[in-house]
């Protein structure tokens, strides 16, 4: 994400999103539709709940022996003739891809949607090196042409109207195209088909990687994942180390819940299992297969507070139900991964300091935890994150002081009683129609968009005493 955007404080970014009426409408329609589709998919699938538990257990068990599974995966891939690369940081991962591309004279690379490549800002690095990256997922293609960033994990261009897409395609692809999704999709098909056939390198992420067999698994609806792994002579897959799973028996457990959680489908149109480069006897497929294993801050969470965020399947279900995401969309978060899980992933990848403001972009309502296919306890981790920000003095001074004062009050019955009395007296100028509004100073931030019940004329403790 651009630094310019991040220099704007989060409340301003969110405020701008709230004033964007099209975005508001698009978000409501998209998230509501995704919620309904997901609900319907699980309602008609009785084993779903047990499979979610199973899937979570598999993630836990795999992390417990992550070193063993990664070694096994690497050995399997190498046995098939693939080459495994180990990237401790985003920079190392970028360097590996660039070196491969330069050494092999690659001029254009086609990409299927991969959050991991977004995470390491791969496209910018390729462009600087004179290599043209072409995003081939329709949504990603649109935002690449528009020089924007994805606003939803699985629907990257939901913030754009068909009119805007028609304008964009007409300008960038030199034509006059109607604002009709059918027409625009056909335009993209034609333009991208050429790229698939011309490109020297295909770059993908991985939804899963099976250690037993050395298989990289890609889940797509458009078929671009298949194109990218079939047509160019080199295939490079970049995956976070947490994507490894032990066996094919584990894979089918995840497949049963992933698409249902993301789009309400029983399975996505295409699930592609890739094992190394093309085999002797095969007419098609890449000559070279490279797997890049990316750490970038993940390993240090294995035994730490954000551990559960490593279970994430990137399905996007928690975005759709989040009352904050539904209002502000993905861009306002400012980083690669938006939504409730995005806050945790950002903290993991960029450090806790990066989510000083975002840690509070949640009402802790728990809807995300309810829909997460692997039941990640996002609200608990957000609370722990806030606590950590306070303890490490990363949170703003004023915030820490307010909470410190509050703590004092709650610990001393006398101080609490006194504060209720003081509050009753101090609130008088601000109580209108039975609600507290328009508080001064720092407190105004709260009452600018909401009101509060005033301190009662007689507190609970006072009434309790009378009863006694």
């Amino acid at each position: 994400m651009s630094d310019a955007l991040l220099r704007t404080p989060f409340p301003e970014r969110a405020g701008a999103a709230l004033k964007d009426t099209f975005l508001q409408e698009a978000l409501t329609i998209a998230t509501t539709k995704f919620i309904d589709l997901r609900k319907e998919a699980f309602a008609g699938f009785p084993p779903g709940e047990a499979l979610r538990d199973r899937a979570r257990a598999i993630k836990e068990a795999t992390l417990q022996h992550l070193d063993v599974h990664l070694e096994r995966l690497a050995d399997s891939v190498e046995r098939l003739g693939g080459i495994v690369h180990w990237a401790a940081t985003a920079e190392e991962a970028r360097e590996i891809v660039l070196r491969l591309a330069r050494d092999r004279g690659v001029r254009m690379a086609v990409k299927s949607k991969s959050m991991a490549t977004e995470e390491i800002d791969l496209n910018e690095a390729l462009e600087h090196a004179g290599i043209t990256p072409v995003e081939t997922d329709l949504g990603e293609y649109i935002i690449q042409l528009a020089h924007e960033k994805p606003s939803h994990i699985i629907a990257p261009a939901i913030h754009k109207t068909k009119g805007q897409v028609a304008e964009l395609f007409s300008r960038e692809l030199h034509g006059a195209f109607a604002a009709d999704p059918e027409v625009l999709t056909a335009v993209a098909r034609k333009a991208l088909r050429e790229k698939f056939l011309q490109a020297d390198m295909g770059i993908t992420g991985a939804n899963f990687a099976v250690a037993d067999t050395g298989t990289v698994v890609l889940v797509t609806n458009e078929g671009n994942g298949r194109m990218v792994t079939s047509l160019p002579r080199i295939h490079v897959a970049l995956m976070g180390i947490e994507k490894v799973i032990p066996s094919m028996s584990d894979l089918v457990v995840f497949l049963a819940i992933l698409a249902r959680s993301a789009t309400g489908q029983k399975l996505s149109s295409y699930t592609t299992l890739v094992r190394g480069p093309r085999r002797a006897g095969e007419l098609e497929g890449p000559e070279e297969f490279h797997l890049i294993l990316l750490d970038n801050g993940r390993a240090r969470q294995i035994a730490s507070t954000l551990r559960e965020a490593l279970y994430c399947l990137r399905c996007g279900a928690c975005l759709n139900v989040c009352p904050v995401y539904r209002q502000i969309g993905g861009h306002a978060y400012g980083y690669t991964y938006p939504g409730p899980i995005g806050i945790l992933l950002t903290a993991m990848l960029k450090g806790n300091g990066s989510v000083r403001e975002l840690a509070h972009a949640s009402s802790l309502c728990g809807a995300c935890k309810d829909v997460c296919p692997v039941r990640i306890d996002i609200p608990r981790m957000l609370v722990e994150l806030r606590e950590h920000l306070d303890r490490e003095k990363i949170a703003p001074w004023s915030e820490r002081m307010v909470f410190r004062a509050f703590r004092r009050l709650l610990l001393s019955p006398a101080a609490f009683r006194l504060s209720a009395r003081a509050g009753r007296w101090l609130q008088r100028p601000f109580v209108r129609a039975g609600r507290l509004r328009g508080l001064p100073l720092l407190f105004g931030n709260w009452t600018r968009t909401r009101d509060l019940p005033p301190v009662a004329a007689r507190t609970f403790r006072e009434r309790w005493k009378e009863l006694g």
């Binding site: 257990a57 417990q64 070193d67 401790a88 939901i158 047509l231 592609t272 094992r275 007419l283 035994a303």
Partner: protein, 243 residues
Amino acid sequence: MAARAEFLERIRREVAKTPGLFGATPAPRPVAPAAAAEAIRHELAERWPEALERFRQEFERVAGVFHRARDLEAVPEVIAGIARKLGVRQVVTWDPAALGFDAAPRLVADGCAVAAARAGQEDEATRLRHREAAAAAQLGVTGADLVLAETGTLILLSGAGCPRSTSLLPDVHVAVFGRDRLLESLEQVGVMLEALHVDADLAMSGATINFITGPSRTADIELTLTRGVHGPKEVHAVFVEGP
């Protein structure tokens, strides 16, 4: 190698801090995958009609078009019917030896150009020629190695004579299968996948397995469902009734 050792050492250090944090286990692998797969085949030998009906329903739900052919000999006629209806001029197919039928004579009689992959022919010139034929074809004919009823999914293994793009590049994909390919659940697919990889070097001649559930689709522009964004716009399944 240094990078690998260092990388894994860092993970090992973190993992060492976790005892007690997790108590779970991964999904159990079948003890004897080949035998487990055989047992499933045996059960399905009786239950296949229900599985076929479920497949048809689910396949049609994801916009698939279902056909029946009396036996393998009748398959070319069914394919020719699909080609005629859609005005197809160019067809690409898997190796007739792998499919068990040769649709070419029937299609050529209708004026179609047919390019068939042949196992054992994989020199650079053939490779280029086949790629051009696949990219230009409007219809691709494949088999299906497994057919999953629960989700209406065709599962294709790539390999010699069975290129991966035949089910991807043409506008229309036609997959032909018999009763012995039917499975009921993803769980059964898991067992089959385990069995396929037991002796990885022998069991599979190709590098990819594709699960295909309906045509290529997207909803990336204003959530409007659109078919055929990169892959086929139509997927047809031909069930061969006879043995």
